[in-house]
Symmetry: C2
Subunit: 329 residues, 2 copies
Amino acid sequence: MSVAAGYDIQTLINKISEEISLLPIGESPSELYEPIRYILSIGGKKMRPLLAALSYQMYKDNTEEVLRPLLAIEVFHNFTLMHDDIMDKAPLRRGKPTVHEKWNENIAILSGDVMLVRAYSLLLDIQPNKLSVVLKRFSETAAQVCEGQQWDMNYETQNTVSVENYIEMIRLKTAVLLGFSLELGAILADAPPKDIQLLYDFGVNIGLGFQLKDDLLDVYGDAQKFGKQVGGDIASNKKTYLLISALNKAQGETAQELHHWLSATCFDKIEKVKAVTHIYDNLGIKANTEKLIQSYFDRGFQLLEKLSVPYSHKQTLIDFTKQLIDRES
Amino acid sequence: MSVAAGYDIQTLINKISEEISLLPIGESPSELYEPIRYILSIGGKKMRPLLAALSYQMYKDNTEEVLRPLLAIEVFHNFTLMHDDIMDKAPLRRGKPTVHEKWNENIAILSGDVMLVRAYSLLLDIQPNKLSVVLKRFSETAAQVCEGQQWDMNYETQNTVSVENYIEMIRLKTAVLLGFSLELGAILADAPPKDIQLLYDFGVNIGLGFQLKDDLLDVYGDAQKFGKQVGGDIASNKKTYLLISALNKAQGETAQELHHWLSATCFDKIEKVKAVTHIYDNLGIKANTEKLIQSYFDRGFQLLEKLSVPYSHKQTLIDFTKQLIDRES
């Protein structure tokens, strides 16, 4: 039996959490730096630095030495959450008050800004010969994440959104950062260029799968396991993959009924969620979405097969990804 | 008669403006990138890339080759303006609607974010062996500018602010970026480390002088030349150097009268500005402020004397700085 290379998941999570708690964020003025410590401390799965570390340890075994630069991605991700929460006027994040609620909007804007600066600072610790390519790719990815957020806001007020545009939006907003996380780990570990690209593409594919699964769970998830009330997206007419494909498929009376619920200004939430879910059921939206999700996960795992390292080295990454896929399903 | 090294000011301004118009900012989504083109196009003195270019051409003569990375500072500066305007709820910037007024707050947050990313991207074009030090110094400076903005917001609601704290706030918010502009030009031009430090310190000193002069002109400026109504700071109780030193100096009846105007909730603006200016006059605040401003400018020029280059090479920088100092006085 082959032995997986590198640390197991729990050890890595512990090391990453420890390293986060040691980050030199800044002290004064406290209004600027406290919110950063706060948002980094209220949990989250640390999926991005974890994927980066898993990617790294397929090729090298001194993972501790790169943990700090890998945290740039976690700091960047939390910066986007801090600013997105202002834009979405979200009162809660991970069950806790958002920064703009706990402090105020100005503090959330400015703390977020300095987080983006700190994310770059963390990347400066890597080997000088890798700095240019890493910062270029990080900057490209960061701009894409902003583009994805802007498309998402645009689509809120747009009457129709195509499936292609929706997939492109979630690719930019969510998937490319997962891709970059794996890419960064591989670059720092001197992985072959072909492997770096494969790992990036793997990250993008599973990122798309995860986001679509989020959409699915919002309707079909177990409320208790999912950690929030199901049907939120339906109640707010959020243009998810499910709604977009339902709008594409529905005809005649079904289309009329769907549009009735979408344009209703006064409704019972439970009734609307039930009715729209019923429409989704009749149109086969659940099976259709599951099929698409599966195709992204399958494609991702196919890419991993082509990596230059032996299977035993991929095992922890594969196990972890499967664990993420199977959550609350 | 010695001939100044490098381009004259107007030629440099033209080259910088041309280069700004050619910046690859991004296209789609237009809601994200149009505001960036807008804020970069509505004027501004381009003082920072200009100082950087003047610093560079004291040592090297291929200034065109570094203009693009020098624009990182201009893009960064305008990012801070875009976000500061949201925080200050400012309706106008350089006489034109601010981004959050012309579009909306979310767009101003997100466009600003991507501007900060673009500022870093522009710096990636420099020589690889300088990348690490430049990005480290840029990141330190960027964080300091955010700190300065946070102190400025804190001081708005704080009862008393010391002169030392006020000077430290404007150093962070304004002066260090001017210092870094000159530092960046010098680093890129392979200037001796001692000169790099002297130019940074020169920038910080003239930056402090400029900001204090802004405070002074807001009270004692010629409204027409100054481009805005005088007395705005007095009307809004802004804790400028003038008000802070007046509060320190005023005693007895004068102190009472000053506090009366500061706590007045209902007043005639013209009357308040006239009365507080009269208090400043009696306390010698104008002469006092002018003396402090002059000391910063003097210190700045003393530092320039110590540079390793011949006087003829410093001439354009000295002339330009004097020109900035003499504006609307």
